[in-house]
C-alpha cells in the first residue's frame, strides 16, 4: 500500500505540462521541497562467487520512479523515499534479477545488500514489447536484448548500428565504406523482400523514427557529383551513450503486432532514464585517430607478380597505354599515392557528459555529447552534437509519466568516392604513365627530349613528329590522375555536405487503476531537418566537366513522424495457478517528407550560389503516409511456467489501390519453462511461435503516373506530359509468415547458457519492381506481387563464464547464425546489376544471384565462353553450393556463382577481468557464404581494351600468359564472372583494455569512479578476397542486391584512448 499523500500532493488529474515543468525544475537541480516522513535506502551489489562489485545495476521499486544505478563500487543510495514497506528489485543483464523487502522509516537509511547470481538465461529479464514490458519467460519468440551501455563502453562507437554488430544472432551489420559519417546496412534474418525496404523499423522510447538512409537520387544529379555508396545515415544521428538497451525483434513470429511495418524486424531502443536519488555525474572523453592501412605500392607493369592488393591496401595501377596500343616493349608507371599521398590520420574526439538523479516524485537523465571525427581522406569529417533530457514523474501512485527528448545536430562532409573517376581513389588508382614527363633520346634526331611518354610512343607509332609534345604533359604539374585529369587537391575542393538538425521525443504515460489493469499511452514525434549541399567550385584551370564552371545541388528535406499508441492490459486470474491476460491496443502513425531542391550551374565567380548561377533549377516534392492499426492479444499463463498466447492486428493505411486496404496479421505462440532450479541443468525453456507481418508498398506505388516535363518548342518552353509508369490495381502488401521454435538452456550453475532458434520465414506476394517490356512505352518499372522469398536458418548463442575466481574472471560469448535464402516462386527471372546483367532474381536461386558465363581456354587454346553442356574446369566457380552448381542459362551460358549476402555470420567475444580493476575485451566477427564483385579490377580490365597488368602479363616464351588472355577476352566482352569472388571474411573488430581505478585512488581524487581505456578497432582482416576490403559496398549501405567494390574506401583502423569519470 502506497502512502496516500502521493495523491494528495499531486492530484491524479495533474496536467502533463505541470509535470514537465516539475521535471525541468528537477533537471535544473533546484532542491525539491522538503517533505516530511521520508527515508532512504542504500546498499551494495556484488556478484556471487567473485564478489565483483557490479556497476550500473538498476535498483528500483517496481511501479514507481524510485530507483538508481550502482556506482563504480557497486553502491547505491535512493533518497526521499516515503516511509512504508516496499519491494526493492536489482536488475542487470547477465544476472538474475533479485528482489528484497525493505521498510523505510522516517529519517533513517535502510540498508539492503544484494548478491546477484549470474544468469546465463535470464528468464525474468524485462523486455519491452508493443504490448508493454514482459518477462523473457513469457516470450514465445526469441528477442535479443543488447546492453547498449556495456557495448558502447567497450567499443566507443559513434554509430548506434555498430552497437548491434556481433551482439545479436541473426542480425547482419555491414558498413559500406570507410568514410566517417556514414552508416551501416542492418538486416535481420536475411533478405525478406525484393523491392520494398529491408530496413528494420526503429523505435525510440515508443516513437517510430526516420531510419532510412538518405541515399535518394540526390547524389546522381546533373554534373559530376558522385559520392557513391557513402550515404548519410539517419541512425548515425543518435548518440550510443544515451542508450540503455536495444531489443531486436527479429521476424514475423515476434513482430506481428507491428503489422505492416514489422516484416523486416523491429529495433526497439530504450534511452537511459533517471532514478530518484542523489545526483550523479559522469564525464567522458575519447581521443584517437582513424588510420587507413597505408601500404601503397608503386607498381610497374613489368613487375606485377604482386599486383593484386591485399585487403586493406590501395594500389595505384600501372596502366600502360603503350601496351594498349601494342607498344609493349616500353612501359612507364606513375603512382600518385607515392608522389602525393592524400591519406591522413583522422583525429577523433568525442566528449560525453551526463547527469542522473531525482527527488521524490521525479527523476531525470540529461546527456550532452560533442563528437568530431575526421576521416582518412581530406574532406571527410563529422561533427555531432547531441543533447538529451529525459524526465520521469509520478503524479500519483497510479500514474507514471515519462518524457524523452533528444536533439541532434549532425554535420557530415563526404569525399568524392566510389564509381567515380574524379574521386580520390579514382584519381589515385587509375593514373596514367604519360602524366609524368620523361627524358629520352629521340631515335630520329638523336637529341635528348623531354616528353610525355605515351605521346612519344604514339608519335613514333604513327610517324608524327616526336617533338610536338616536348615538355607538355597535361597534369604533370599537379600529379593529376588519368581518368579525370584532376589532382587530389582539386578533388578536395568539392563539397558533399549534410547539415542536419533533429528532434526525437516521446511522452509515455502509464495508468494503473488496479494491480491487474494497466494502461499505456505513447505520443512520439520525430522531426528531421536536413540540408545537403553538393558543390563543385569554379576552377577554370581544370579542363574537365561542368565542374570547372561551378555546379551546385542543394536538396533540403524535412521529415516528420508522429506515433500515437495506446494499450490496455488486464490480468484475470482463472484459478490458483492459471491467469489470463488480455491486451488491446491501437496505433496511429503518420510520416510526411517534404523536399525542396535548388540547383545551379555555371558561376561567374568562385563562390557557387544558386542565385548567381547562369542556369538554375528548383523543384519540390511532398510525400505522406498514414496508417492505423488495432491489435489484441490474449495470453494464458499457468504456474509461471507455461505461457500460451494468440494475437491479431488489423492495419489500414494510406496506400492507394483496391487491395491495399485493411490487412490482418495474426500470431500464436507458447513458452514452456520445463526446468528451473539447481543442478547441472538449471534452466530449460522451450518456445515456439508462428506469426505474420507485412511490408507495405508506398502510398502511390499502385497508381499510374505520368510525368510533366518542360518541352522546348520553337519560341518557348511549354509543359508536356509523358508516360511514366502504368498502375497496378491488384497490388497487395507483401506478407511475411514465420515459424520459429527453439530453446534456452542454462547449466553448470548458470555458468553456461545456450540459446537456440530455428526459423522458417516466407515472404509471400513479394512486391517486385519489375521491368516492363520497353515496348509498352513506360520508362519506369511497375510494382507487382510476384513470387515468394524464403529465409530459413538457425541461430545459436553460447554464453559461458569460464572462470570466476576472486581476482580473475573470464567470460565468453559466441554467436552464430545461418541463413538460407531462396526465391521459391518467380515466374520469370529478373536480370539486373553491375552495369549489365550479371545478377538475377530467379526461382530456385538466392536473392540477387550472381550469374555470369565462364571463360575457359578451349581445346584450340583460345579463350571461349563455356557452353552450358560442358563442365567447368579451372576457371569455374569452384565454391558454388552443391545443388545450384549446375545451374546454367542456355540463353547466354550464364552460370550461378553465388549470392551477395552471407549464409553464415557470427561473433566471438571474450572478456577477462583481472584483480577487479583491469578488463580486457576482444570482439571478433565473421561473415561467410557471400560473393563480392571486384569492380575496380573489372573496370580496369574492361575499359580501353584492358589496362590491368594481369591482362598484359607475358610468359617466358614472350607470349601472353593464359591468365592474360582469359582476362583480355573477358574484359573485352563484359564477362564479369572472373571478378565475382568469394568474400568470406573474419575480422578482429575490437580490442580493449580498461583500468578501473581502485577506491583508494578515487577517494584521493574525490571522485566516485575513474577508468581509463585503450581501444583498437578493425585490427586484422582474414579473407581470401583479393580486393581492398570484403566488407565494403560501393553501392551503399542501403543496397542488399549488389555487393561490389569500385574505388571504395576500405574501413580504417581506429585507435582510441578514453577517460571516464563518475562524480
Amino acid at each position: 500500500m502506497k502512502p496516500t499523500w502521493f495523491t494528495r500532493s499531486i492530484p491524479a488529474s495533474v496536467p502533463g505540462l505541470f509535470a514537465v515543468v516539475l521535471s525541468v525544475v528537477a533537471l535544473l537541480g533546484l532542491p525539491a521541497a522538503a517533505v516530511a516522513q521520508e527515508g532512504a535506502v542504500a546498499g551494495q551489489i556484488t556478484a556471487i562467487g567473485t564478489g565483483e562489485q557490479l556497476i550500473g545495476v538498476q535498483v528500483f521499486v517496481p511501479g514507481t520512479s524510485f530507483g538508481t544505478l550502482t556506482d563504480d563500487a557497486g553502491r547505491f543510495r535512493i533518497t526521499g523515499v516515503p516511509v512504508g514497506d516496499y519491494t526493492l528489485r536489482a536488475s542487470i543483464i547477465g544476472y538474475q534479477s533479485f528482489e528484497q523487502p525493505v521498510t523505510v522509516t522516517a529519517g533513517e537509511v535502510a540498508t539492503v545488500d544484494f548478491v546477484l547470481e549470474i544468469s546465463a538465461v535470464a528468464l525474468d529479464e524485462v523486455v519491452a514489447t508493443i504490448t508493454g514490458e514482459r518477462r523473457r519467460r513469457e516470450l514465445a519468440a526469441d528477442i535479443s536484448t543488447i546492453d547498449a551501455t556495456v557495448v558502447a563502453d567497450n567499443t566507443r562507437t559513434s554509430d548506434v548500428n555498430e552497437v548491434l554488430k556481433g551482439q545479436a544472432t541473426g542480425v547482419y551489420v555491414r558498413k559500406a565504406t570507410g568514410s566517417v559519417g556514414t552508416g551501416s546496412n542492418v538486416r535481420i534474418r536475411g533478405t525478406g523482400s525484393v523491392s520494398l525496404s529491408k530496413q528494420p523499423l526503429y523505435v525510440i522510447d515508443g516513437a517510430i523514427i526516420e531510419s532510412e538512409n538518405n541515399d535518394d537520387s540526390a547524389f546522381i544529379v546533373p554534373g559530376d557529383f558522385f559520392i557513391g555508396g557513402q550515404t548519410f545515415s539517419r541512425v548515425q544521428d543518435l548518440n550510443p551513450d544515451e542508450i540503455e538497451s536495444v531489443e531486436v525483434i527479429k521476424g514475423p513470429a515476434a513482430s506481428a503486432l507491428w503489422g505492416a511495418r514489422g516484416n523486416a524486424g523491429v529495433i526497439v531502443i530504450t534511452t537511459k532514464k533517471g532514478a530518484a536519488g542523489s545526483t550523479r555525474w559522469n564525464a567522458r572523453a575519447d581521443l584517437g585517430s582513424n588510420i587507413q592501412n597505408p601500404k601503397f605500392q608503386a607498381d610497374n607493369i613489368t613487375q606485377q607478380s604482386d599486383f593484386i592488393p591485399k585487403p586493406g591496401e590501395m594500389v595505384s595501377t600501372a596502366i600502360n597505354m603503350a601496351a594498349f596500343f601494342g607498344l609493349r616493349d616500353t612501359t612507364y608507371t606513375q603512382n600518385l599515392f607515392d608522389t602525393n599521398n592524400p591519406f591522413r590520420n583522422g583525429f577523433v574526439q568525442n566528449y560525453n557528459g551526463n547527469v542522473t538523479g531525482g527527488a521524490g516524485l521525479w527523476n531525470y537523465f540529461g546527456s550532452v555529447q560533442y563528437a568530431n571525427q575526421k576521416g582518412t581522406l581530406p574532406n571527410n569529417d563529422q561533427e555531432k552534437f547531441n543533447f538529451r533530457a529525459n524526465f520521469g514523474v509520478d503524479p500519483s501512485s497510479k500514474v507514471n509519466l515519462s518524457f524523452s527528448n533528444g536533439y541532434s545536430s549532425n554535420e557530415v562532409n563526404l569525399p568524392d568516392n566510389d564509381n567515380n573517376g574524379a574521386g580520390f581513389l579514382g584519381v589515385g588508382t587509375i593514373s596514367f604513365a604519360w602524366e609524368k614527363p620523361i627524358t629520352r633520346e629521340d631515335p630520329v634526331t638523336g637529341e635528348t627530349v623531354e616528353t610525355c611518354p605515351l605521346a612519344y610512343e604514339l608519335s613514333l607509332a604513327t610517324g608524327a613528329p616526336t617533338d610536338t609534345f616536348a615538355g607538355n604533359c597535361p597534369g604533370a604539374e599537379n600529379d593529376a590522375g588519368f581518368l579525370s585529369g584532376i589532382s587530389f587537391d582539386e578533388v578536395a575542393t568539392r563539397r558533399n555536405r549534410q547539415k542536419l538538425e533533429r528532434y526525437t521525443g516521446s511522452g509515455n504515460a502509464t495508468w494503473t487503476p488496479t494491480a491487474r489493469w494497466t494502461n499505456r499511452f505513447t505520443l512520439g514525434y520525430d522531426l528531421v531537418n536536413s540540408r545537403i549541399e553538393l558543390t563543385t567550385p569554379v576552377d577554370p584551370t581544370r579542363p574537365f566537366g561542368t565542374g570547372s564552371l561551378g555546379n551546385t545541388y542543394k536538396p533540403s528535406m524535412t521529415s516528420r513522424n508522429i506515433t500515437m499508441q495506446g494499450t490496455t492490459t488486464y490480468l484475470q486470474p482463472l484459478g490458483s495457478s492459471l491467469d489470463f491476460e488480455f491486451t488491446g491496443g491501437v496505433q496511429w502513425f503518420r510520416n510526411t517528407t517534404e523536399e525542396f531542391v535548388v540547383a545551379g550551374q555555371v558561376f561567374p565567380a568562385t563562390g557557387p550560389a544558386v542565385n548567381n548561377s547562369v542556369t538554375n533549377q528548383a523543384s519540390d516534392s511532398f510525400d505522406e503516409q498514414k496508417s492505423l492499426g488495432f491489435f489484441a492479444q490474449g495470453q494464458f499463463q499457468w504456474n509461471n511456467r507455461v505461457f500460451v498466447n494468440g494475437a491479431i492486428r488489423w492495419d489500414n493505411n494510406s496506400a492507394q489501390g483496391e487491395n491495399l486496404g485493411v490487412q490482418t496479421y495474426p500470431k500464436f505462440g507458447a513458452s514452456w519453462v520445463a526446468l528451473e532450479g539447481q543442478g547441472i541443468f538449471n534452466t530449460l525453456r522451450f518456445r515456439g511461435a508462428w506469426g505474420r507481418s507485412g511490408s507495405l508498398p508506398g502510398t502511390n506505388d499502385a497508381i499510374a503516373l505520368v510525368a510533366v516535363n518542360q518541352v522546348a518548342l520553337e519560341q518557348s518552353d511549354a509543359l508536356g506530359i509523358s508516360p511514366q509508369r502504368p498502375g497496378n490495381d491488384l497490388l497487395s502488401p507483401e506478407t511475411g509468415e514465420e515459424l520459429e521454435f527453439g530453446f534456452d538452456l542454462a547449466m553448470l550453475s548458470d555458468r553456461l547458457g545456450l540459446t537456440f532458434s530455428y526459423y522458417d520465414q516466407k515472404t509471400k506476394n513479394s512486391v517486385v519492381t519489375r521491368d516492363l517490356p520497353p515496348s509498352e512505352g513506360f520508362p519506369f518499372e511497375q510494382f507487382t506481387n510476384i513470387g515468394q522469398i524464403d529465409n530459413k536458418g538457425f541461430e545459436v548463442a553460447l554464453d559461458a563464464l569460464a572462470v570466476a575466481a576472486e581476482n580473475f574472471t573470464w567470460d565468453l560469448r559466441v554467436l552464430a547464425s545461418n541463413n538460407t535464402n531462396e526465391i521459391s516462386e518467380l515466374r520469370d527471372p529478373i536480370q539486373f546489376g553491375l552495369g549489365g546483367d550479371v545478377q538475377r532474381h530467379q526461382q530456385g536461386l538466392p536473392y540477387a544471384a550472381y550469374m555470369s558465363p565462364i571463360v575457359e581456354l578451349g581445346d584450340d587454346g583460345d579463350p571461349r565462353v563455356l557452353p552450358c553442356d560442358e563442365t567447368p574446369g579451372t576457371w569455374g566457380p569452384d565454391d558454388t553450393p552443391g545443388e545450384k552448381e549446375d545451374f546454367c542459362d542456355p540463353l547466354d551460358n550464364s552460370r550461378y556463382f553465388g549470392q551477395p549476402n552471407p549464409v553464415w555470420e557470427g561473433s566471438f567475444q571474450t572478456t577477462f577481468t583481472l584483480f577487479k580493476y583491469v578488463q580486457l575485451y576482444a570482439l571478433f566477427d565473421f561473415q561467410a557464404g557471400q560473393h563480392m564483385f571486384n569492380g575496380t579490377t573489372q573496370f580496369m580490365s574492361g575499359f580501353l581494351g584492358g589496362i590491368t597488368a594481369e591482362q598484359w602479363e607475358v610468359g617466358p616464351d614472350g607470349e601472353f600468359t593464359d591468365t592474360a588472355r582469359l582476362k583480355q577476352f573477358a574484359g573485352a566482352r563484359d564477362l564479369e564472372g572472373l571478378w565475382l569472388l568469394p568474400a568470406d571474411w573474419g575480422k578482429w573488430r575490437t580490442a580493449q583494455i580498461r583500468f578501473d581505478m581502485p577506491p583508494s585512488v578515487t577517494r584521493f581524487l574525490k571522485v566516485n569512479g575513474l577508468s581509463i581505456q585503450f581501444i583498437g578497432e578493425n585490427l586484422v582482416t582474414w579473407t581470401d578476397y583479393n580486393g581492398i576490403d570484403p566488407e565494403i559496398n560501393s553501392n551503399g549501405q542501403g543496397v542488399d542486391a549488389n555487393k561490389s567494390e569500385f574505388l571504395t574506401l576500405a574501413i580504417p583502423r581506429r585507435f582510441l584512448a578514453t577517460i571516464n569519470i563518475f562524480f
Partner: protein, 471 residues
C-alpha cells in the same frame, strides 16, 4: 458489483470503454493523403488537357531523337568515342552485346515511350472528334501530331533495329503486336502512318507538318526500295522546308545532347569527330573530315592543354563546330555558356533532304547527269542547311563509289541528325554495298532487339538476339 473472483466488473468496462474511446479518436484521423506532385493519367485525359498531351508527344520525340542521333552517329562514325564506358565502346566498335544496358535503357526505351505517347495521342484525340468540350482545331492538331510522331519513330525502328515489337504484354494497346516485326513490315507501317499524317496535317492547316510527313514517307519508301514512290512523295516539298526538333538551354534535361556530349565543358568530350590520328583505338576518321575542315565546318584546335579529351590521350582534338557553332572564332576555346549550342535544333525533315532523295531516285533510274545537277545545285552554291560550298559530285557510273558521293550529299545537309544510319543500312540491304567503316572488331549494321524486351515480353520467343552481325 463484484464477480465470483472478487473483482469489480469495472476494469473490463474500463478496458472496453478506454479502447473504444481511443479507437474512436484515432479512427477520426483520416488516412487520406495529399500528394501534390503526383499526376495521374486521369488528370490529363479530359479535353482541356489536350494541348499538354500534344506538347508531351513533341517532347517525347525530341528526347528519343536526341539519343538516336548519338548512338546512330557512333555506329556510322559521324562520331567516335573518346570515353571509356564499355557499353558505348561496343556501339562505337559495332559489336553490341545483346545485354548492352546503356542501349536498352536509353534509346530503345525512349523510342518506345515516344511511339506509345504518339499513338495514344492520335487515338485519344480521334475519340474527341465531335466532342463539344474539345477544341476542334486542337483535336485536329493532336491527331496530326500524334500520327507524324508515331510514323517517324516507326521509321527509326525500321532503320536501326533488326526487329521490333509494340505493346509489350498490354493487349489493350491499339498497336499491340503478338510477335516481333521485321524492318520491312515496320517501314510499311511508317509509310501508311506518314500518309495519314499528311492528310490530318492538311486538315489541321499545318502545312509544314504535312510537308515533313511527305519527306518522311519518301525516306521510308527509299528504305523499302520504292525509289520512284519516294521521289513522288518528295516532289511537292518546298526547297526551304526545315522541320525541326527543338531544344532549350533552360534546363540540362532539355539541352541538345549532341551538343552536350561533344561540347567542351559539359560531357568531357566523350563524343568527338574522328580525325584518323590518335584519338581512339582504331584511328577512325570521319569520311568527309578533310573536306569539312577545309571549308570550315569542322574546326581543329591543336592545343592539347585546352582541348584535352576525356581520357587525356587526345593530342589533336577536333571540336564539333558544324551545327553547333561556338560564340568565338574557330580555333578559340569555346566559352560556355553557349545557348546557341545547347538549344540548337535537329532537323527532322528538310526540303534539302527531299531534293537529295529525288536526285538519288533519278540516279537509280539512270539519270546520272540529272542527279548530279540536282545535288550540285544545292551543295556547290551554299543553298543547303549549312550555307557552305561543298565540292561538286561527279558520278562515274560505278555504283559503289557514286553511292558514297550521294551519302556525302545527304551528310552535307543532315550531319548529326540521325539520317546516316538509315542510308548506310538501306544501301547494304537494297544494293549489297557496304559503306560502313571497316576495320573495327564488330560488323553490326543495326541494333539488336533489347534484352529487356526479350526478358519481359511474353510475345517474344524468337528475336534477333544472337548476333552480331545484326542485319
Amino acid at each position: 458489483m463484484r464477480n465470483r473472483l472478487g473483482l469489480t466488473r469495472r476494469p473490463w468496462t474500463g478496458v472496453a470503454t478506454g479502447l473504444a474511446a481511443l479507437a474512436l479518436v484515432l479512427s477520426s484521423c483520416s488516412l487520406d493523403v495529399f500528394d501534390p506532385d503526383v499526376v495521374s493519367p486521369e488528370d490529363v485525359s479530359d479535353p482541356a488537357s489536350l494541348d499538354v498531351a500534344v506538347t508531351g508527344v513533341i517532347g517525347d520525340l525530341q528526347f528519343a531523337l536526341d539519343d538516336y542521333v548519338l548512338f546512330s552517329g557512333l555506329f556510322t562514325d559521324e562520331f567516335i568515342l573518346a570515353g571509356t564506358f564499355p557499353t558505348r565502346i561496343e556501339i562505337d566498335e559495332r559489336r553490341m552485346l545483346f545485354s548492352n544496358a546503356t542501349h536498352n535503357d536509353d534509346l530503345y526505351e525512349r523510342l518506345h515511350v515516344s511511339r506509345f505517347s504518339a499513338d495514344n495521342l492520335a487515338v485519344s484525340a480521334q475519340a474527341l472528334v465531335g466532342n463539344p468540350d474539345a477544341d476542334e482545331d486542337l483535336v485536329r492538331v493532336a491527331i496530326a501530331q500524334g500520327q507524324f510522331a508515331g510514323a517517324y519513330v516507326r521509321m527509326l525502328f525500321a532503320e536501326a533495329y533488326c526487329q521490333s515489337i509494340f505493346g509489350g504484354n498490354n493487349e489493350e494497346d491499339p498497336s499491340f503486336e503478338s510477335s516481333p516485326v521485321d524492318p520491312d513490315a515496320r517501314m510499311q507501317g511508317a509509310v501508311s502512318l506518314f500518309q495519314s499524317a499528311q492528310a490530318s496535317a492538311t486538315v489541321a492547316g499545318l502545312s509544314d507538318l504535312a510537308a515533313a510527313a511527305r519527306v518522311g514517307e519518301a525516306r521510308a519508301q527509299m528504305f523499302l526500295g520504292n525509289y520512284a514512290a519516294a521521289a513522288a512523295a518528295a516532289a511537292s516539298v518546298d526547297d526551304g522546308l526545315e522541320y525541326e526538333s527543338f531544344y532549350s538551354s533552360n534546363d540540362p534535361s532539355q539541352y541538345n545532347e549532341v551538343y552536350a556530349f561533344t561540347y567542351f565543358d559539359s560531357e568531357q568530350l566523350r563524343w568527338t569527330v574522328g580525325n584518323g590520328l590518335l584519338t581512339t583505338r582504331w584511328n577512325e576518321k570521319f569520311a568527309f573530315f578533310d573536306e569539312w575542315v577545309d571549308i570550315g565546318l569542322i574546326a581543329v584546335d591543336v592545343d592539347p592543354v585546352v582541348f584535352r579529351a576525356f581520357d587525356g590521350s587526345v593530342t589533336e582534338h577536333v571540336s564539333l563546330q558544324l551545327i553547333y557553332p561556338p560564340p568565338g572564332p574557330l580555333g578559340e576555346p569555346q566559352q560556355p555558356p553557349s545557348p546557341a549550342g545547347q538549344s540548337s535544333p535537329i532537323f527532322l525533315a528538310t526540303g534539302y533532304e527531299a531534293r537529295i532523295m529525288e536526285a538519288e531516285a533519278a540516279y537509280r533510274a539512270g539519270d546520272l547527269a540529272g542527279a548530279a545537277a540536282l545535288i550540285n545545285s544545292r551543295i556547290t552554291t551554299g543553298d543547303n542547311p549549312h550555307g557552305k560550298v561543298f565540292a561538286p559530285v561527279d558520278f562515274t557510273g560505278d555504283f559503289a563509289s557514286d553511292i558514297v558521293e550521294i551519302g556525302r550529299a545527304y551528310s552535307a545537309g543532315m550531319w548529326l541528325t540521325g539520317h546516316r544510319l538509315g542510308f548506310m543500312r538501306r544501301v547494304l540491304r537494297n544494293d549489297g554495298v557496304d559503306i560502313y567503316v571497316t576495320g573495327k572488331p564488330g560488323s553490326d549494321t543495326a541494333f539488336p532487339m533489347s534484352k529487356q524486351e526479350v526478358d519481359n515480353n511474353d510475345n517474344v520467343s524468337q528475336a534477333c538476339t544472337s548476333g552480331p552481325p545484326w542485319s
